[in-house]
Amino acid sequence: MPIELLIQALLNGFALALVYVLVALGLTLIFSILEIINFAHGEFYMLGGYATYFAFAVFGLPYVPTLGLAIVAVGLGGMVAERLIFRSLRGKALNAFIVSLGLLWVLQSAAQLSFGVLDKSVPRAFSGIIRAGGIIISVERFVVMLAAAGLIAVLYLFLQWSRVGRAMRAVAQDADGAALQGVNIEFISMLGFAIGCALAGAAGGLLAPVFAVSPAMGALPVVKAFIIIIVGGMGSLPGAVLGGLLLGTVEGIGALFFGSAAVNILGFLMVILVLLVRPRGLFGVA
């Protein structure tokens, strides 16, 4: 097999995988701060998609401010959700499961009722292709890949070096301990939830021109995000990136060899394998 074909397959997988890493990072951030899994996370991705559709396709805003708008709007939405319902559920995983399912149904059917069930297509933000050797990638996918990588880098710097980001990590390690050191837990959970949702919104905004926008669009990226955080380890940022790249590799190469029907099962088999060999994920902490 020519090496170009392999690189091409990997590159195709990576562009999407990096966006799914954004979704996964939001999930894992919320998980590490509130100790709950937010199943409505894909619906925040969906809201980001619709924000992009309205700002970019309907009102004709340029793409870059549109993306910023989607991020802020979905982040604010997440803030409201945390205030109203998730705050009281810290650590009650089973209850949070049901509540986030309820939220999933509410947001999805609200989107159906207000925007209709049909797909809405968003025009391309970038056109053209880049050629390098025998490898071809569309400018659109290349920009998506760069933007996702940039956002991941910003999140990393924020969590690593800013005062608030460090407080967030402290809460993730031990909420009581952080509170004793004067960290305002309520504020940190609200901010963490908002940032997590904003990341999903950004992912939705990035992929809106690539795929169409629809009320049920959040299901697929969330499943991918679950696979990514399991493989990478819950609560770990480098783990999520690595998990995403691994998933992209496995899916890209899997599609090449086994066809697309087998690709879905490969991701889940990878999850089972990782959990059995190294239950904490590749980068997870106990």
């Binding site: 100790e35 009650k92 049901i98 939220l103 509410v106 609200a110 696979i227 099962i265 959990l275 059995l276």
Partner: protein
């Protein structure tokens, strides 16, 4: 003779369940009600057995897969092997349990959110296998159709048929009451007590000498056996079997029923299943708003009654006695523990 209060509660609850389920066809023969009631009874087997597993502190998202394994096993044994439904019904449970033993042994090595996710991954693998692989056996995306109804049973010189809805309802009743007898008996036993201890703190239970893994595995296998029975009934009463019947959506409903009802008591899932099924039947009136309202109901119920609907009478009693609501003790079982 005075009975132990726990035993009295168990017997009363079981009596009520038996009276309500057996009494329903005497009140109405309306096929719509019988249909809904049959679904409720089948879901009761599933939620009560799921609760047995949740009561050891872990949420098994692959419970529905064992319904599928039982359903496909029984269907294939009847349609390809020519066996009688009355043989394949228990076999369906045994096949599900046989799969559950190795799968549970592997999955239960992890806990909390990891267990939740590994069982979810497993259930997706099972669904995809039914949907995409071994198409000549499982029928692929179009599923299996024209599954025969249970064959007639000769009993004490009379021939019982299982064609009509009421007859199928009675069959489901018998399955439920047998399963519930086992589950209630287990709950009112050393096993139930240890399950509770494990749920409250698996570490502490382990230090006190409880073999936590074994209890969880037993719960997993017993729960899966019952799921397999329900699966066989499902296949032969619906006569159509499809991979989406064992997907995430029906599984999520089971969890919703169980948790909204309350996992702290063996009767929680019963309350949750009955109440929510009736609520969702009423919500059909609202057509487009059905899911929106259902979602809102879930959020409100969980925020207002975090221990489930089953905790309501107790809270009400405490409220009346003290004149103020008692501090609610969080009994939320940890997906993340």
């Amino acid at each position: 003779m005075s009975l132990d209060p726990g035993l009295r509660r168990a017997l009363t609850g079981y009596g009520l369940l038996a009276a309500a389920s057996l009494g329903l066809p005497l009140l109405t023969r309306d096929t719509y009600y019988i249909d809904v009631a049959t679904t409720i009874l089948m879901n009761l087997v599933l939620t009560m057995s799921l609760r047995l597993e949740v009561s050891t502190g872990q949420l098994n998202m692959a419970h529905i897969s064992f319904v599928g394994i039982g359903a496909y096993a029984s269907t294939l044994l009847v349609m390809r092997g020519g066996y009688s439904f009355w043989l394949t019904l228990p076999l369906a449970g045994l096949v599900a349990a046989a799969f559950a033993l190795p799968i549970g042994s592997l999955a239960l090595r992890v806990s909390g959110p990891y267990y939740f996710l590994i069982t979810f991954a497993f259930s997706e693998v099972v669904r995809l296998v039914f949907n995409n692989f071994f198409v000549e056996w499982f029928g692929g995306p179009s599923g299996l159709v024209q599954i025969p109804k249970p064959d007639p049973l000769r009993l004490a010189g009379r021939e019982l048929t299982f064609v009509g809805k009421v007859e199928l309802y009675h069959l489901m009743c018998v399955i439920l009451l047998l399963a519930a007898a086992v589950l209630v008996r287990l709950d009112y036993s050393r096993f139930g007590l240890l399950g509770n201890a494990i749920r409250q703190s698996d570490l502490l239970a382990e230090t006190l000498g409880v073999w936590v893994f074994r209890y969880r595995l037993v719960a997993f296998v017993v729960g899966s056996f019952m799921a397999g029975l329900a699966g066989a009934f499902f296949a032969h009463s619906h006569q159509v079997l499809h991979a989406s019947d064992v997907g995430l959506e029906p599984m999520v409903l089971l969890v919703v029923f169980t948790v909204i009802g309350g996992t702290g008591s063996v009767w929680g899932p019963v309350v949750g299943t009955v109440v929510l099924t009736i609520v969702s039947e009423f919500m059909r009136e609202f057509h487009y708003y059905e899911n929106l309202l259902y979602g809102l109901v879930l959020i409100l119920m969980m925020l207002l009654f975090p221990e489930g609907l089953i905790s309501l009478p107790g809270r009400l009693a405490r409220f009346l006695r003290r004149g103020r609501p008692a501090e609610s003790q969080a009994m939320g079982v940890g997906v993340a523990s």
